[in-house]
Amino acid sequence: MLFFSFFKTLTNQTVTIELKNDIRIRGILKSVDQYLNIKLDDIEVLDLDKYPHLSSVKSMFIRGSVVRYVMLPRSEVDVGLLEDATRREAANQVGKTR
């Protein structure tokens, strides 16, 4: 649940999402669920020339499995906390597999 927990803190931030088909979309992250499906608002497609069919899309729901990268605003990430959260997650996982 670490990634879900993490992305939840990024709601209402502007993120850029690169899909596995190379489309890059910048928009405001409205919500995310445990499958890391993503809802974006006020979107803007980078390289719009290549994907004219997206020119009128204002918001979208992206299935989590098609996301390649999510580019985040660095200032919104608490690295120390994230490290600790990762440690906890790792400890949880170890606990679970045993």
Binding site: M1, S5, R87, R88
Partner: protein, 820 residues
């Protein structure tokens, strides 16, 4: 399908249907009417059509039966106007139950014709006037028969139909089960035959409006499955009679009675009957007023030409069970009747349409499906029951803490998904409750409760279920893996090596070299896990125990014990106490720990959880190894370089930000002798001149010097201690003096040199006048350079640089202003 197994279709319906119908191909008794209404029947099913309107017909003004219910009148309480506080309405009613029962029997004996009439009312055209009189005299008692038996306990069953859980189906009535199918006529004939000689049950045993609706062909929806079907009073009576137990109120019932009690009910319209019985018994009571429907006048005209009141059991339209009856009515009446009829038919048709799928799934089926859905919900969203903060924190740590730190940015900061199921339930409840209708509200309430119970049971079941991760069905080739969001399906199924085999050899290796990169990183991680455990402990600290509360004291002691053991664990993980090996090529484990950024970052957190002694140990350790610290060792710029590499500068900054404040915090409280000792260590153990060329080294020296000065100012320094300090200081000064010009970082125009001026100021304050002289000479060039350089700078930067210099100048009693 009638509940009792009678064929309730009227002759005309029967012709078209034929006996060969399949089980689910129920004839639609309203098809005809619906077809007739097809033009106006274009709208959907709306509430008005399906709501029977009984509530609207309640006449709140009429208090005719209040005396019966509340025990006024006869008992005289109402006469005096005293209301009293005895609201035991049921008890009051029960007091007169015997009387009611007696009245019934007495009436039955007096009017032997009443029962046949009642039967007639169902079967054939009633004689209107007679029915009217009999009904009027007995209406008061209607619905209370069941209370006549003192041993009677009303069948208290929740309205389970909304949830679809059926109670045990009632035993079918023996008579009905014996004779599987009988036509309505046959039953009637039998009834009449049987009832010929006998005095009868008063007609009130048949709820009036039930009889009234008998003219309708009865919809045969599968709804007829009797869910929550309460005991039928007459049956009960009959059973009691058969057993020979006569209710006290009925001493001398003629032998024909038992059958007759059952008779009308059985011949009555079963579906209606069921609907009736689903209502609580008291709902049946005020039948008269209730059935004075909106168009009462027209109805009454038949029996009592002027409509005197809307009350009376015959308030409705005449009961028409035979088409010929219509012929005797006036045109107006007939129209009104037809309109009424059409309305009712339309409503029933819609109910029929709605109920087409009824009974396709048994309640068990529905339960099963609901359970599956809920289990999915629970599995996906986490256990509803697990909503305690600990579980949330472990699952959702980053989000929870982040929103605490940065202020919750979201609408529902503390609504993790575990509450999803509950939210869903609440929404459902609201929607159902929104009807504004008493019954709907009640059922919604009930529905919600049941849903919640269902969720709880589902959660229990999910918990109890063994956590099988996959299922291999015998004979199949594959396996079915279960997955949910928390535990996704494994793409690879790798068997872990037993812990006894795998990591062993590595461990031996790591024991050999304490300082290779991997073991250092492992150490750091173990420090962090100890830290996190301690921070968790801090959160769960019990409140400070009060005097005498031994339990709380005990709890507190245990907590302290745990904290202490964690502290020991942390301390061991830090490896501060590892023996110092002089001239070793590998750095001390703690120094190695500090050479990693996350090691440095851990220091402030560590300092919060250790005591003073441990802090001074750490400080001592750092001071002793000052020149092997990476931030000191690597901080000397290489030959020909103005400043150290970027990575080193970053780590120096990190050290200054993370470690130095912690150290400074301790030094500012440290006793003087420790400061003296530390300075002695710097001089004895390290290469002071190279240490002084680094920011960190200078910082530590500044720290010690300024603390000593503060102690002296405060007059806390004992004379002997101070002598010791001055000795050490002199040694330091003499060592540093030759290289004072070199401690500045690079040329005048590179970077920040404030820390150097701070150091010089700290030295200057503690120095003797003679030493101050030497100090000024040593750094005079740099001072002049800076002053000159600052003239070429913008005003704010210039004042900054001059301010730095002034730190030092003021310390030795001078000012840059003097330099002009």
């Amino acid at each position: 399908m009638s509940f009792f197994g009678f064929d309730t279709t009227l002759p005309r319906d029967r012709q078209q249907g034929g006996p060969a119908r399949g089980f689910f191909e129920n004839p639609d008794p309203f098809a005809e009417v619906a077809r007739a209404q097809a033009v106006e029947d274009d709208d959907g099913i709306d509430f008005e059509d399906t709501y029977d309107g009984l509530g609207d017909q309640l006449d709140d003004d009429q208090d005719a039966f209040n005396d019966d219910t509340f025990g006024g009148g006869d008992t005289g309480a109402a006469a005096t106007g005293a209301v009293g506080r005895d609201f035991d309405f049921f008890g009051t009613t029960a007091k007169v139950a015997d009387v009611i029962g007696e009245e019934q029997v007495r009436y039955a004996l007096q009017n032997p014709s009443a029962a046949p009439l009642a039967a007639q009312q169902h079967a054939a055209a009633p004689a209107p006037t007679t029915t009217a009189t009999t009904a009027t005299t007995t209406a008061k008692r209607t619905g209370y028969e069941k209370y006549s038996d003192p041993g009677y306990i009303p069948d208290l069953q929740a309205k389970s139909s909304v949830w679809g859980i059926s109670q045990k189906k009632q035993e079918p009535i023996p008579a009905a089960s014996r004779r599987p199918m009988m036509s309505l006529e046959e039953v009637e004939a039998q009834l009449r035959h049987r009832s010929q000689p006998a005095p009868t049950m008063p007609p009130q045993s048949i709820p009036q409006h039930m009889a009234e609706q008998a003219y309708l062909p009865h919809p045969q929806y599968p709804q007829g499955v009797p869910e929550g079907f309460p005991a039928i009073p007459p049956e009960y009576l009959r059973a009691a009679l058969e057993k020979g137990v006569l209710p006290p109120g009925m001493p001398g019932l003629p032998p024909g009675i038992p059958e007759l009690h059952g008779g009308p009910v059985m011949s009555g319209p079963p579906p209606m009957h069921i609907q009736q019985n689903q209502l609580p018994p008291q709902n049946l009571r005020p039948q008269g007023p209730r059935h004075a429907g909106p168009p009462p006048g027209q109805r009454q005209q038949q029996q009592m030409p002027p409509p005197p009141s809307t009350r009376g059991p015959n308030g409705g339209l005449p009961v028409i069970t035979n088409p010929q009856q219509l012929m005797h009515l006036t045109e107006e009446q007939r129209n009104a009747y037809l309109v009424e009829d059409a309305k009712r038919a339309k409503r029933n048709h819609k109910i029929f349409l709605l109920s087409r799928g009824n009974g396709l799934m048994t309640p068990q089926d529905k339960n099963f499906i609901t359970r599956i859905q809920l289990q999915q919900l629970v599995a996906a969203a986490g256990n509803v029951a697990d909503a305690d903060p600990e579980a949330v924190l472990s699952e959702d740590f980053y989000y929870q803490v982040y929103s605490q730190i940065r202020g919750a940015p979201r609408q529902h900061p503390h609504q993790p998904l575990g509450h999803f199921a509950q939210t869903y339930l609440l929404q459902t409840g609201n929607r159902l409750g929104g009807h504004g209708n008493r019954r709907a509200f009640q059922s919604a309430d009930n529905h919600m409760q049941r849903m919640q119970q269902q969720v709880q049971r589902a959660v229990e079941a999910a918990k109890a279920k063994p956590k099988n991760k996959q299922l291999i069905i015998e004979g199949s080739l594959g396996k079915i893996s279960f997955s949910n969001a928390k535990a996704p399906k494994h793409m690879l199924n790798i068997k872990r090596p037993d812990s006894s085999e795998g990591p062993r050899p590595k461990k031996v290796q790591s024991d050999l070299s304490l300082s290779d990169r991997k073991s250092i990183l492992t150490n750091i991680e173990s420090v962090y896990s100890a830290l996190m455990a301690m921070e968790d402990m801090e959160r769960t600290m019990p409140p400070p125990p009060e005097e005498g509360d031994s339990e709380a004291i005990q709890e507190h002691m245990e907590w302290r014990q745990k904290v202490h053991s964690l502290n020991q664990k942390l301390w061991r993980a830090l490896k501060v106490m590892e023996p110092i090996v002089p001239n070793s090529t590998t750095p001390h484990p703690f120094i190695a720990f500090l050479s990693y950024p996350k090691g440095k970052k851990a220091i402030p957190r560590i300092f919060r959880h250790i005591d003073q002694e441990q802090r001074v140990t750490i400080l001592t350790m750092i001071v002793v190894h000052l020149d092997s610290l990476d931030v000191v060792r690597l901080a000397q710029p290489g030959p020909g370089e103005a400043q150290p590499s970027l990575a080193v500068r970053e780590s120096i900054d990190l050290f200054s930000l993370a470690v130095m404040p912690s150290l400074l915090g301790y030094v500012n409280e440290a006793p003087f002798n420790i400061i003296i000792g530390l300075l002695g260590l710097v001089i004895a153990q390290t290469h002071v001149q190279s240490v002084a060329r680094t920011k960190v080294g200078l910082g530590i020296l500044t720290m010690l010097l300024s603390r000593a000065e503060i102690v002296k100012e405060a007059g806390q320094a004992a004379e002997r201690d101070w002598q010791q300090w001055v000795e050490k200081f002199n040694v330091l000064f003499d060592t540093l003096e030759p290289s004072l010009a070199d401690i500045f970082p690079g040329a005048i125009n590179t970077g920040d040199d404030m820390y150097v001026w701070q150091f010089l100021a700290a030295v200057g304050i503690g120095a003797s006048p003679e030493q101050q002289q030497r100090l000024v000479i040593a750094v005079k060039d740099r001072v002049m350079e800076t002053v000159g350089y600052s003239k070429t700078l913008p005003a704010d930067m210039a004042s900054l640089r001059l301010g730095n210099v002034n730190l030092f100048m003021r310390a030795i009693g001078l000012d840059v202003e003097l330099l002009g």
